[in-house]
Symmetry: C2
Subunit: 207 residues, 2 copies
Amino acid sequence: MTTIEFINKLPILEQELKEALLEHSNISRHEKGDFIIKNNEYIKVLKIVLDGKVRVYQANEDREILIYYLNAMETCTLSLSACFEDCKSTVNAIVEENCSILNIPVRFVRDWNFKYKSWNTFTTNTFRESYNHLINQYSTLAFQPLKDRLFDYLTSKASNGIVKKSHQELARELGTTREVISRLLKNLEKSNRLILGQREIILLEKK
Amino acid sequence: MTTIEFINKLPILEQELKEALLEHSNISRHEKGDFIIKNNEYIKVLKIVLDGKVRVYQANEDREILIYYLNAMETCTLSLSACFEDCKSTVNAIVEENCSILNIPVRFVRDWNFKYKSWNTFTTNTFRESYNHLINQYSTLAFQPLKDRLFDYLTSKASNGIVKKSHQELARELGTTREVISRLLKNLEKSNRLILGQREIILLEKK
DNA sequence: GTATACCTGTGACTTTTGTTACAAGCCTAT
DNA sequence: ATAGGCTTGTAACAAAAGTCACAGGTATAC
């Protein structure tokens, strides 16, 4: 995707803003495994994924937990947040599928926020949606047993009832370890809620 | 606190905005135990606490978890979020100390966001700070054992090394049950990290 | 093919957290 | 002073999650 194609997909009305976006942003390409953002590094640009897929997560010594995935046309809310105050990242972002990223220096993002109405709407919506989503994740984490979180997560990620992920990946996404996921999946299989394959899980319940 | 006193404490520059705030907002007073916001109700006003204290939390059948406290001069980020899209609350908010609340109908909040620069800064900062705070809470919840979360929470809430809360209150704030908190506190006492009293916990470590 | 890295299964055990049940202490209002 | 409600303690048990150790399967690259 080119910058122009991207801009035309955004709900942006102002011609001037379109030109500013073209002038001040650049596109970078990244391979699977590249780090886009590292914990404790300063964030200097707003990152918008044009295509591919990026995993944004927090890590402690031995475990990780997913904050969000960035898919095509999605904006990294944390780098948006950083646009309004110089700060270090508290998360990592790693490329899961080769991707193109639109980079916009933070000062423009900040300025445009009051200058262009559609940009203002864009940033506000990004914050709002991310915040609401995170609150839900938070109380799910607090209240739901892992078994349920796992099953719901599979349901949400399935396409045609199939999830193509390894147990290790699921563990990283749900903040636990591989063995625990394997055990829970096996239990779910025994109760006929899914079928396990090699890097493949077939769900037996419709949404 | 009056609306005018409040407005003068805000980092608001535009005279016109000050007048609009005065004209379109109202102050309501609430007693301890009142619900300000209930789960599943529509949010129609932005709520800013002028004084007193409000607890905003999520609940499931038998447990609760704190989202945030609103103290004097603090804004309910979730009601701010609701200003930009009609939606139901996913949380409850209950008055913990008698309070005055400034209520601003959502349509003004939305309009002012692009009309007045200082209001725009105010809303953006509110979102940014809340989002960053919640991300931290999230990974703490995912990775830290309850014992550590409890101790850190006590440290953060202590004034002069003392926390005046019952075990039940702590359980509600940390998303668990009273018995669990009692047990963990007793362990912490045994390892000389604090001293337990009646509705009082004396911390034995400096920050 | 075979080496290598990833992927899955699983038993045994530990730790953490939640549940149930009950006893007793403290505080406040009448 | 005493009743009722909140507060704390605690044992015993159950369930959930994490850890360790090892075995064997699968896929891919050379």
